[in-house]
Subunit: 402 residues, 2 copies
C-alpha cells in the first residue's frame, strides 16, 4: 500500500500540474449505467446484484461512465472545458492473471467540453508525463483516429449497425475473420484490401500523408502541439481501434513491452457519452491508466521500491524513564519527525532489534544519567555510531540527515 | 474530493508521524468475516450478495475485521507490535441522515500485539492528534474500561451468555429496561444500584479512586502517559460501553458537541479478534474515525475549506502564438507549477473569464511582440496588475508568491 500511495501521489501530482481536479464517484451505481456505456456484453463481467431496496446495482467496472454521469448531474453548467481526474478501485469478474485482478486500481482523466487538436494533445501529453512519472523506460504511445476508419468502412458499404462487428475484428487484427464478414456484407475485395491497408498505416508523422481528408491535417496539428510541449514524437497507428462504440475521433494507446502479451498500460481518445446519460452531447477526450499493470511493468524493468521506515525509535533504558521517553517521542512527533517508542517494556537489545525491523534511521536512548543533564543518546542505526545530544537539539540533528 | 484529500492527508501525516504504516484491504470479503466480528445482526445492514462463483460476499461495513484477517493471513510472524492504519470506503444499508451515509469513508488504526498502558495511551494520543489535525475546537475524549464493568455484572450473577444484553442496555443508558432484565436474572437490587453507579462514574482522573482493583491503577498509568505526551487530560467515564463483544479492556470515545445527537466522531479500545479468524489470540488496541462526520463537525464549527486553484493560465493572443503557448505551459509544468492553457481558441476576454473561473492566480499572456524579445505578459488575477517578464524568469516569478 505504501508503494501504491507513492506512485499514486506521483500521478496525482502530474494531474494537478496539468490543471486537472480530483473527483470521486461511488463504488457502485445502477447497473444500467455501465450497460449504456459498454453494451450488454459487460454484464458477463459485472459484479451486479440487487440491494435490499431491490435496485439493480453493480460495482463499477470502470470510471468513465460514472465521471460523465456525474458531469451530467452536477457539473453540466460549469465553465468549459472541465478537467477532472479520479483514482479508485474498479471490479471485473474475469479470470485473474498477471497484472489483471478482479479488484484493481484505475487512474483516469476526462477533459470535457472541447474538441480541438490542442485538447487531444493536452490529454496525450498528460498520459505521457504520467508514464514518465512511473519511471518507465520502455514504452510506446500510438495515435490513431477512429473516425477515418469508420468513414472508410461506411464508404465501402458496411451497414452502420454492423460496423462494431467489423471494428472488433480489426481491433484484434483478425483479418482472416474480417474478410469473409465484410464479403457477406457485399464489400468489394478492393475495398477490403484498402481497409486492411488503412489499419496497417503505422509509422512516424510522415505516414499521415496517406490519411485522407481533414483527419490527416488534424492529427498533424496534434503532433505539432505534442512536439511544442516536449513530448517525444508518438507513433501514428491507424490500426488503433479501441473496443468501444462511443469514441469519435483521435484514439491512442500506450504499451510497455516489458509486460509481454498484456502490454497495454493506458488507452483513451475523444468521445461523446453524456447524451446516453440524459445530458446534451458534449465532446470530450479522456484516458485511463491501468495502475496495477504499469506498476508491474516498472517492476519488470527492474525498478525497486525502497520501503520507507521511521525517523526515530525512542527507547527508555529503565522503567523509571518511560514517562520521559513518552515526552521525547511526543516532542519529536510535534516537530513532524516520524517516530515510535517502546511500549512493550523491552530491554535494550530486543528494543534495538525491533528498531531495525521497523527501519528506524535513529534510536534515541533515554537514560537517567544523560537525562539529568537534559540529554539523550542518539544512535545512528546504520553505522551504529552513538553520541550524546541535548534534547532540544534532537529534532534538528535528526532532520539534518533527512 | 479536493477537500476530502486535504483532510485525508492530514490524518495520514499524523499516522505516519506516529510510526503507523498504511494498508488497504479489499472492498468486499466473505460475508462470514463480518458476521464473525459483529454477530448475525450485522446482516441487516450488510450489502451482501452472491458473486458469479456462488460465493457469499459483502461490501465491507468496517475495516477492523479485514485488517485483522489480513494480519492473521499475512503478517502474523512480523515483529510485534504491528502498527497499521487504513482509509477507505465502507458500506452500510441504513437510513441515510446527516453525517451518516450508505457509502462512507472510514479511517482507522490498529496497534497489534501489545497490551500495556503505553499501548492504549499511544492509540488515544494518536486519535487526539487526528482530531486536532482536523482543526476541531470543541471535542471530548472519554475513557472507560469494559473489563471492570464485565467483571462487576458477572460478580452480580449475570450469566456470561447474557452479559451482552445487559451491556447493550447500559450502553444506551436504558436503566428502566436494564433493571427488570437483571432482576429476572436474579441480580439483587443493591448489585443493580452498584452497577448503575459504576456506569455513572464520570469525571477527572480523581474518580479512578472509585474503580476497584488493578483497573484503577491501569487507567491511572494510561492517563500519566497521555499527560507525558502532552495530550489534554481526558475524561474518565466508566459508562463507555461500546457495542461489541470483542473489547477486553480500555475503551474510549470522542465526540463533537457541534453534531448534536449523532455526536460520536471516533471510538475504539483494546480487544482480541484474531482468534475468531483462525489465528492465535493477540491483544490489540484500535480505533476508527468517522471521517465524513468529523468533516461535518469542522464545518458546523464554521471552518471553511478554501478550494485551491491553479497557479497559471496561459493564453495566446492570436492563433499563431498557440504553439508558443504550448511551449510555455509545458515549461511551467516541468517546474512543478500547476498550469493550464487555452485549448478552445478563445479571445482574450473570454479566456480571462475562464482563468478566473478556475481560480488561476496568474494569467500568462503570450503575444508576438513580447515573444520576439523572449518575454510574456504576467497578469496578477486578483489585482489585475500586468507586467512584462522574460520567459526564463517566469517560474521564479510565479513561485515566489506561492
Amino acid at each position: 500500500m505504501e508503494k501504491r500511495r507513492f506512485y499514486e501521489n506521483k500521478l496525482r501530482q502530474v494531474a494537478l500540474t496539468f490543471g486537472f481536479r480530483e473527483v470521486e464517484t461511488p463504488i457502485f451505481e445502477d447497473a444500467e449505467l455501465f450497460i449504456l456505456r459498454s453494451g450488454p456484453n459487460v454484464l458477463k463481467e459485472l459484479y451486479a446484484f440487487k440491494d435490499k431496496g431491490d435496485r439493480d446495482i453493480a460495482l463499477r467496472p470502470e470510471m468513465t461512465a460514472p465521471a460523465i454521469r456525474m458531469f451530467v448531474n452536477n457539473m453540466s453548467n460549469d465553465p468549459k472545458p472541465i478537467k477532472i481526474f479520479y483514482f479508485g478501485q474498479c471490479f471485473r469478474y474475469e479470470r485473474p492473471q498477471s497484472g489483471r485482478y478482479r479488484e484493481f486500481f484505475q487512474f483516469g482523466a476526462e477533459l470535457i467540453g472541447s474538441a480541438t487538436p490542442e485538447t487531444d494533445a493536452e490529454v496525450i501529453a498528460m498520459a505521457a508525463s504520467m508514464i514518465k512519472a512511473f519511471g518507465l523506460k520502455e514504452y510506446r504511445v500510438r495515435i490513431g483516429h477512429i473516425g477515418v476508419l469508420r468513414q472508410r468502412i461506411a464508404d465501402a458499404g458496411v451497414p452502420a449497425d454492423r460496423a462494431a462487428e467489423v471494428l472488433q475484428k480489426l481491433d484484434k487484427k483478425l483479418y482472416d475473420e474480417a474478410r469473409p464478414l465484410m464479403e457477406d456484407m457485399g464489400v468489394s475485395s478492393a475495398d477490403i484490401d484498402g481497409i486492411f491497408d488503412l489499419t496497417e498505416t503505422v509509422g512516424g508523422p510522415e505516414v499521415l500523408s496517406k490519411v485522407p481528408g481533414d483527419v490527416g491535417d488534424y492529427l498533424r496539428k496534434v503532433v505539432s502541439f505534442l512536439e511544442a510541449m516536449g513530448v517525444e514524437t508518438p507513433e501514428i497507428d491507424l490500426g488503433v481501434v479501441r473496443g468501444l462504440d462511443y469514441y469519435t475521433g483521435m484514439v491512442f494507446e500506450a504499451e510497455a513491452p516489458a509486460l509481454g502479451a498484456e502490454k497495454q498500460i493506458c488507452g483513451g481518445g475523444s468521445y461523446t457519452l453524456s447524451e446516453l446519460f440524459g445530458g446534451e452531447k458534449v465532446f470530450s477526450t479522456g484516458f485511463a491508466v491501468g495502475f496495477d499493470r504499469i506498476l508491474l511493468a516498472a517492476e519488470k524493468e527492474g525498478q525497486a521500491y525502497e520501503p520507507r521506515g521511521i525517523d526515530a525509535y525512542v527507547l527508555p533504558v529503565s522503567d523509571d524513564m518511560r514517562l520521559k521517553a513518552a515526552e521525547v517521542v511526543a516532542m519529536l512527533r510535534h516537530e513532524g519527525i516520524s517516530s515510535d517508542v517502546d511500549i512493550m517494556g523491552r530491554k535494550m537489545g530486543k528494543a534495538l532489534k525491533y528498531a531495525s525491523a521497523v527501519r528506524a534511521r535513529f534510536a534515541v536512548i533515554v537514560g537517567s544519567k544523560e537525562m539529568e543533564e537534559g540529554a539523550v543518546t542518539l544512535r545512528d542505526m546504520s553505522s551504529g555510531e552513538q553520541r550524546t545530544v541535548p534534547v532540544e537539539s534532537l529534532p534538528a540533528e535528526i532532520k539534518k540527515t533527512q
